[in-house]
Amino acid sequence: MQAFSFSSGPLEPGRYREALEDRSAGGFASFEGWVRDHNEGRTVQRLEYEAFEALALKEGERIVAEAVARFGVTHAACVHRVGPLAIGELAVWVGVSSAHRGEAFAACRYIIDEVKHRVPIWKKEHYTDGDSGWVNCERCAAAAHDHDGGHVHTHSTGDFAGADHEHDVPPAQDYSRQIALPEVGTAGQAKLAAASVLVVGAGGLGVPVLQYLAAAGVGRLGIVDGDVIEASNLHRQPLYGVADVGRPKATVAAARLHALNRDVRIEVHETRATAGNIDALVKNYDLVVECTDNFRAKFLVNDAVVRALKPAVFASVHQYEGQVQLYRPLPHWPCLRCLWPEAPRDGLVGNCAVAGVLGPVPATLGAMQAMQALKRLLGLDAGEAPALVTVDLLTLETRRLVARRNPDCDHDNPAATAATPATEPLELGFETLADAFESGLELVDIRETWERAHDPPGLQIPAHLPLSALVNGYLEFPVEGRYLIICAHGVRSRSLTEYLRARGQAEVYSLRGGLAALRS
């Protein structure tokens, strides 16, 4: 059968399917587009399709040929209906036979997406109220946006401004343009969907990193940022708008990224990276992208990824220049401390606030970080030797400076990079509960509910996380914050504190002797 054809009579899927049968094919996937009874809130009675056939046939054939070549399938075909159609009728049919199912599904998806996007077919809907209109052709819709005329679309102005039309069900994400790369393919896309990335800092570098990783379909993204949006940020962080000033960066970024790609699970950590939380954060992700603007955080992240054996992408900018460095937990790879054994002090060499910066500089470096992260997740960086890449956007020069492991840097030695000094006490003693409240630590009662029932008045600790619920996983101990953990005699609280310290939480303490040791 023809790769792409039009039919003015009812489509015959059974007949088309037979034409694609092949002894070498192990599977068959098809898609059918049906005429539905409503569109954008209006009841549809019937519709008509009209095509610019000469052009449409050529473009349709090209799309099917592309699908066969890109996905290596056995046969593929598409038939599109023209003329008047009733509700429930078949409007378009796509079928693909292939050795394996993955390619069959992918090619089928590719064909229908491309046909809807590229083939000049117009649809006229007739509504029950007697009205009618040419609608829903993606080419027309795109043209209407370009020229700001023709169709009227309502745009919301809230959190999801830019999310565009009100769809009953949001359209599926389309990764065809990256799947088309032979090195990516459907297998690569699946790797991205299964991957998780922690982005520390949602500023000038973090914004493009988050946007491109979300758009690429990385399955889970964590955002660590404790700052609020400032008006002076917007020139280099255009994910945010002027109406967002004063709102928390991580939360606003999460809303925007959700509007961009609903496939991605976004986890908001509205906090600064600290010695107390960084290990717990890092351990939950496959890769870390470091996008802060200060040395303290950069070295904190460096030490945490070194401890957790996770890859990380570092970058920083200064005026018109920037540097990018990939860290991999391999014996010969240098870490940030290998390069800069003397951790510099903040303020010594300037940051964006004092030195100034043009927006596209962090945007370029952030895009490079996103690219390095995708390469690592897809395994496209196998031949890449450790290096610091410098970029000068005034001269448009990049330089790849080969870096080596510094033999004096003992970053493999956990004691050398431990987040918590060994001297930090595990237990704290207080005379009274009032003293404990005044310590500045948040008090957490981990006794069981029945134990609290017998508390005398004045001994109420508002935060209650029963140890049994923590152990069984019904509750999670928060990763951020400074806590004094309390039980009846200080035994359970001490073991929980030991556990939390081991997972990297530095600022947790156990009440020595428990409630029994307090003077009432």
């Binding site: 500023g203 973090g206 900018v317 390069l339 510099p344 060499v349 410098t390 005034l394 080596r404």
Partner: protein, 80 residues
């Protein structure tokens, strides 16, 4: 005298007023060259804080220079 091509980054570029220059020098090592240029441009950054790369590879300050070498001085950068 060796003719060396020198490139500066970040604060060093600002202090030097150029991103690159070609210098005629008797400096035997990368350290000697930095000290010489730091005096000329008033860099004010101690050598211990910087890294030097010769011919696109990070190297030690004791690296012996040869005519035609490309030397890059890189301070740590924190902005983001």
């Amino acid at each position: 005298m060796n003719r060396i091509e020198v490139q500066y980054f970040a604060v060093l570029r600002e202090r030097a007023g150029v991103s690159r220059e070609t210098v005629e020098t008797t400096a035997a090592t990368a350290a000697d060259l930095y000290d010489e240029l730091a005096g000329r441009h008033d860099f004010g950054l101690p050598r211990a804080m910087l890294r030097v790369a010769v011919n696109d590879e990070f190297t030690d300050w004791s690296h012996a220079l040869a005519a035609g070498d490309r030397v890059v001085f890189i301070p740590p950068v924190a902005g983001g």
